[in-house]
């Protein structure tokens, strides 16, 4: 699971109103290089919940992102920032671990890089 996906994932248990972002319990994180595409990274920026990304990256062992969401100028001109964002979003993989609902504490397992977000009968 990459952080780009994590930034979208939310706990959908019945009745939960505060299911995002899921806290990451990182068991095994690996890095896989991906071609850098600055336009894509700029496009992604608008979608992101920044705090969730920073926190998620930190959980996966990457603390290079600024705490506060940078403004548009940085996005246009600062390639080193874009590369950090690229690295965080696309190159870090949670292979083993869990995603934890902030409201209920429910753990969604991640095995071999695949999160299992299926709910049990009583959670639906």
């Amino acid at each position: 699971m990459r952080l780009i996906t994590h930034n979208m994932l939310s706990c959908n248990i019945k009745g939960v109103t505060n299911g995002f972002p899921l806290r990451i319990e990182a068991g095994n994180v690996i890095e896989k290089e991906v071609d850098f595409n600055p336009d894509f990274i700029r496009h992604m920026f608008a979608k992101l919940e920044w705090k969730a990304l920073v926190e998620g990256a930190r959980s996966m062992g990457y603390a290079e992102l600024p705490e506060d969401s940078p403004d548009a100028a940085v996005l246009e001109s600062d390639e080193s920032f874009l590369k950090k964002l690229h690295h965080a979003l696309l190159e870090l993989h949670l292979e083993e671990g869990a995603l934890v609902c902030p409201e209920t504490g429910r753990k969604f397992p991640v095995n071999k890089g695949i999160p299992n977000m299926l709910l049990h009968e009583d959670e639906v």
Binding site: I4, K14, H43, I114, V124
Partner: protein, 412 residues
């Protein structure tokens, strides 16, 4: 893609055999739908030919009963405490478990990219995040290399196949996507909704697709059509009475008695006459004996000829009526024995009656549940989703397809 499935289940039987067999099954099915179970067991061979020759009025009534029983089931489900997000038994047994068991074989047949889907994906702007809900073996993930795809499917074995190809995927339920709203640039649902067994679940899945894309984002949905281009395919499918869809619970159920299992109507494919012993049928006094097995001594030759002639006429009407009204089916999947051994899931499937062996074809036969869509049905369903507009609709290769656009922020 759809054609791949259709080719794989096509047999080499002659068209006349298929038609005849199909005709018999169709007529039997109307007999089945229009009378109760206890009544059917009392029907003798002689009166069978009369009972089986239903008038078109009776056929329409039978069709109306099917539709009515489906809507009753819908009301029951919506008024019960069962959430629309709860998976019904029929989907657990005849969708989830089947795909889990057949995943690698299924994936190996899923390689042809459907041009209309490819065109949709290629039309999206560079850098789009595309969500594929029900991605199966990930055939479309990464199709447009300038976009980022996130796929999900309820089948872990299928998701594993995607993951092994380096795709970004997760295991999730299309009726309850674990995504926050407005994230995706576009979403696709290719041959998924027809596996959902209630209208409210199908509608919910459409709502989910719209929810997870950005305002102004596009959603492409394709589903199998009731109006199949290759009508001989319908004879390979087992039509389901809605009433019995719920009661199909496994080994303990009356549906699994030997008498029922030997019955050609309940068989998983249109087995030609030779496969079911005529003697066995006569001895059983089964109500589903084909016309070919009516003993000569019980009917005059002339009467028999007239009977058969009108049956041939009625069969064409029945096929039409069936196509129009019948939308619930089991569609077989033949998993070759060597594949079944590798998977391991088939042993328990056979033991529990979920699948059956066909030694003639050297395959374990599974059934997949389908609700095929009639013309206009997908549109009607989608038009009930509040914040999206239909921007394209088409029929292609026996599928009904629709493109929705989520309302932009400043509109309702």
């Amino acid at each position: 893609m759809i054609l791949d499935v259709l080719r794989s289940i096509r047999t080499s039987s002659s068209s006349s055999t298929t038609t005849t067999t199909g005709g018999r099954i169709i007529l039997q099915s109307f007999g089945f739908y229009s009378v109760s179970t206890s009544k059917m067991r009392d029907i003798k061979v002689k009166s069978d030919s009369r009972e089986l020759i239903t008038s078109s009025d009776e056929e329409e009534e039978a069709a109306a009963q099917i539709i009515e029983s489906v809507s009753i089931r819908e009301k029951e489900i919506s008024s019960s405490s069962l959430s629309v997000k709860s998976t019904p038994e029929i989907e657990k047994k005849y969708v989830h478990r089947v795909y889990d068991a057949i995943a690698p074989h299924f994936s190996s047949t899923r390689f042809a990219k459907w041009p209309k889907v490819a065109a949709f994906l290629e039309s999206l702007p560079c850098g789009s995040v595309i969500l594929d809900a029900g991605c199966g073996n990930g055939k479309y993930l990464g199709l447009n290399p300038s976009c980022f795809f996130i796929g999900c499917d309820i089948s872990h074995p299928l998701i594993k196949i995607c993951s092994d190809k380096g795709q970004e995927v997760l295991v999730a339920d299309a009726v309850n996507l674990p995504y926050r709203e407005d994230f995706g640039d576009a979403a696709i649902s290719i041959a998924v909704l027809h596996h959902l067994s209630t209208e409210s679940r199908r509608k919910k899945a459409i709502e989910e697709l719209v929810r997870v894309v950005k305002p102004g984002g596009f959603v492409l949905i394709t589903v199998w059509a009731a109006e199949q281009e290759d009508t001989s395919l319908l004879t390979k499918w087992t039509p389901l009475s809605a009433k019995y869809v719920e009661e199909w619970v496994g080994p303990g159920s009356p549906m699994n008695s030997p008498r029922v299992r030997n019955n050609p109507f309940f068989s998983l494919e249109s087995i030609p006459e030779t496969e079911v012993s005529t003697k066995e049928q006569k001895a059983d006094n089964s109500p589903f004996i084909g016309l070919e097995s009516i003993p000569e001594s019980e009917e005059s030759t002339r009467e028999l000829k007239e009977t058969k002639a009108s049956i041939v006429e009625q069969k064409e009407e029945s096929l039409e009526a069936l196509k129009k009204s019948q939308q619930e089916y089991f569609v077989p999947w033949h998993l070759p024995y060597h594949r079944a051994e590798v998977s391991g899931a088939s042993a328990s499937a056979l033991a529990t009656g979920l699948a059956k062996k066909d030694d003639r074809k050297g395959a374990v036969v599974y059934n997949r549940y389908y609700h095929v869509f009639s013309e206009g049905e997908l549109e009607r369903l989608a038009s009930r989703v509040g914040n999206a507009m239909i921007v394209d609709r088409f029929y292609d290769k026996s599928n009904w397809c629709i493109v929705l656009q989520k309302a932009a922020l400043n509109q309702d």
